[in-house]
């Protein structure tokens, strides 16, 4: 097991154990409701690192690179889904899954024999994530009579990246932090399907492992929007969710 998987696995274990925790709070109107959300996310271009095709120099010779290659993951569009449980009025814990697809751009430079620099879209990565996420609503910052609900989020998960044609698959970990705003479209606490909301999110995505050319970890901002719904036993005191 690679370092870093432990944390993600531990978080998943906490989520898996959560229904027991919910059962320990009977009658707590702040909890006991589920949330389902779907979000379209745009992840900005991410450098994947680069490397020189180096030959071992002879005695007294300077380092010799046949050429250099660098790659980045072009901006990708993906879909995230989230199935959560609202622990309290402010806090929800969720299991998440995501899928996206992004082209890999390659740049060749510094050819030792003078070949011109070149760039091409060399591959397409399909990416899948599975993980856990915590959303915390900042209740004191609610506005518009509670319809606008800012929140912060933190997430961790496992990443699978498959190259074009599924020729090769690589794994890694993804960590996210961010903020967002939920806007209530419909709020009926007394009904089973109590709330529909629009959600906008801004995240910072940190990836370890996966497809990389030596850069190791990399970080990229992501933004997106979607819809969430809250459902569960009716609560006449109102359920806060996004």
């Amino acid at each position: 097991m690679r370092p870093g998987w432990g944390r993600g696995a531990a978080f998943l274990a906490v989520l898996a154990a959560w229904p027991c925790g919910a059962a320990a709070q009977p009658g707590n109107g702040a909890g006991g409701r589920f949330e389902v959300a779907g979000t379209a996310m745009w992840v900005t271009s991410t450098p994947l690192g680069g490397s020189a095709a180096s030959l071992t120099p002879n005695v007294g010779q300077p380092p010799y690179a046949l050429f250099s290659a660098a790659a980045d993951l072009a901006m990708s569009v993906g879909v995230d889904v989230r199935f959560g449980y609202r622990v309290s009025r402010a806090l929800a814990l969720s299991l998440t899954g995501g899928a996206s697809r992004a082209p890999v751009r390659v740049r060749i430079s510094g050819d030792a024999e003078g070949a011109p620099d070149a760039s091409f879209t060399g591959d397409t990565l399909q990416q899948w994530t599975v993980g856990g996420r915590a959303d915390y609503e900042i209740r004191r910052w609610r506005f518009a009579s509670g319809r606008g609900r800012p929140f912060v989020l933190a997430a961790a998960g496992l990443l699978w990246q498959s190259h074009e044609g599924r020729a090769s698959t690589e794994t890694g970990q993804v960590y996210e932090g961010g903020t967002g705003l939920a806007w209530t479209l419909r709020d009926r606490p007394a009904s089973w399907l109590s709330r529909w909301s629009l959600v906008a999110e801004l995240r910072v995505t940190h990836v370890r492992g996966g497809f990389s050319w030596g850069s190791g970890a990399r970080t990229a901002p992501a933004f997106g929007g979607g819809v969430s719904t809250t459902w569960g036993p009716a609560d006449k005191r109102g359920i806060i969710g996004h």
Partner: protein
């Protein structure tokens, strides 16, 4: 300082076995390997009986200790033997007074003074079964007219026995030359600027011990001849054609580079269709570069009349080659243009 060139493997006329540098387009037969014609087929040379037993001739040592000399040779054999993905083994059988250039049923390594080979540090010769392609005997001689060293860290102005032996033992096992190196032409011959294969035909300068370490290209080549069972399933290949105006380019040097591991592995387009195959690649993404063979004499790689085409410029495959575990990436067509 003189720059010296290793001699390509040669045959003994007595057995009438023509040793060729061969490779076929099939990924399982990649790398420039030594081979022989059997009927209408080319068969790669390899030892069928392992371990390969070798004797050491300690006569005429050029100012080096016998024990240190044997130890240097043993280390060279062990370096090849320790390749995890290759199943080739060697066994020191003792010392002998026999010459490494004689056909006597023994595989012998030793020093011979050959002032007429004024650019040859060492050479490997074979006795080959012309029916099966099996190597039945080989000999490696080191040219004692040059200064040699067996010092752990090398000695200035002297050639490192272990480094040169490592190259020659690669031949002894059946490997041909690699073109993964860059040279410059100077008075007296070519000088290595840099290389990334022990099997590059031109040695590093005297005093260097860089050549004691195998590179990815060497490992892939040896594993291709003597594969461990997992070698074919754990690694993959890249195949394709190098073409110019739709016609195959014979002898084009194709290099696969994995930027994640910095591994460089090369091979040639080895038929009239310009087909190439590079096997033994760790799964991953590779940049593929094609260049004309211009950093050593063509005869170090091909026969005199091979018709190697060097009239084209460096060209890159316009996509990444993603090598699957146990599979092949391609076939790709790499279109080069005249320079």
């Amino acid at each position: 300082m003189r720059r010296l060139r290793r001699h390509a493997a040669w045959t003994r006329a007595a057995v009438a076995a023509l040793v060729l540098l061969i490779s076929a387009g099939h990924p399982a037969e990649a790398y420039l390997k030594l081979g022989t014609n059997v009927g209408s087929q080319r068969i790669g040379l390899r030892w069928s009986r392992l371990p390969i037993r070798y004797f050491v001739n300690e006569q005429g040592l050029p100012g080096i200790g016998a024990a240190e000399y044997r130890a240097a040779l043993d280390r060279a054999f062990t370096t090849w033997q320790d390749i995890g993905s290759a199943n080739v083994t060697f066994q020191a059988a003792g010392t002998t007074g026999a010459s490494p250039t004689e056909s006597d049923g023994m595989t012998t390594l030793g020093f011979v003074a050959r002032p007429d080979f004024d650019r040859v540090l060492g050479s490997t010769s074979f006795i080959v079964d012309t029916v099966t392609g099996e190597i039945v005997e080989a000999g490696i001689f080191f040219n004692s007219v040059f200064p040699w060293s067996v010092a752990a860290g090398g000695e200035s102005g002297k050639y490192d026995v272990e480094s040169i032996a490592l190259h020659e033992v690669g031949h002894l096992a059946g490997l041909g030359h690699s073109a993964l190196g860059e040279t410059e032409l100077r008075a007296g011959g070519r000088r290595v600027l840099a290389a990334e294969a022990v099997m590059f035909p031109i040695a590093y300068s005297a005093g260097s011990t860089i050549g004691r370490q195998l590179r990815a290209d060497d490992v892939a080549g040896m594993s291709d001849i003597y594969p461990e069972p997992a070698f074919r399933t754990d690694t993959g290949s890249i195949s394709g054609r190098v073409t110019r105006n739709g016609q195959g380019v014979y002898g084009a040097h194709v290099v696969a580079f994995n930027p994640a591991t910095n591994a460089l592995v090369g091979n040639f387009a080895l038929n009239g269709q310009g087909e190439f195959a590079i096997a033994g690649l760790a799964p991953g993404s590779y940049v593929v570069r094609v260049e004309p063979l211009d950093d050593a004499d063509l005869t170090a790689f091909f026969g005199e009349d091979a018709g190697v085409d060097v009239n084209f410029g460096v060209t890159y495959l316009d996509r990444l080659a993603v090598v699957p575990r146990g599979g092949n990436a391609g076939p790709y067509e790499i279109k080069v243009t005249p320079r």
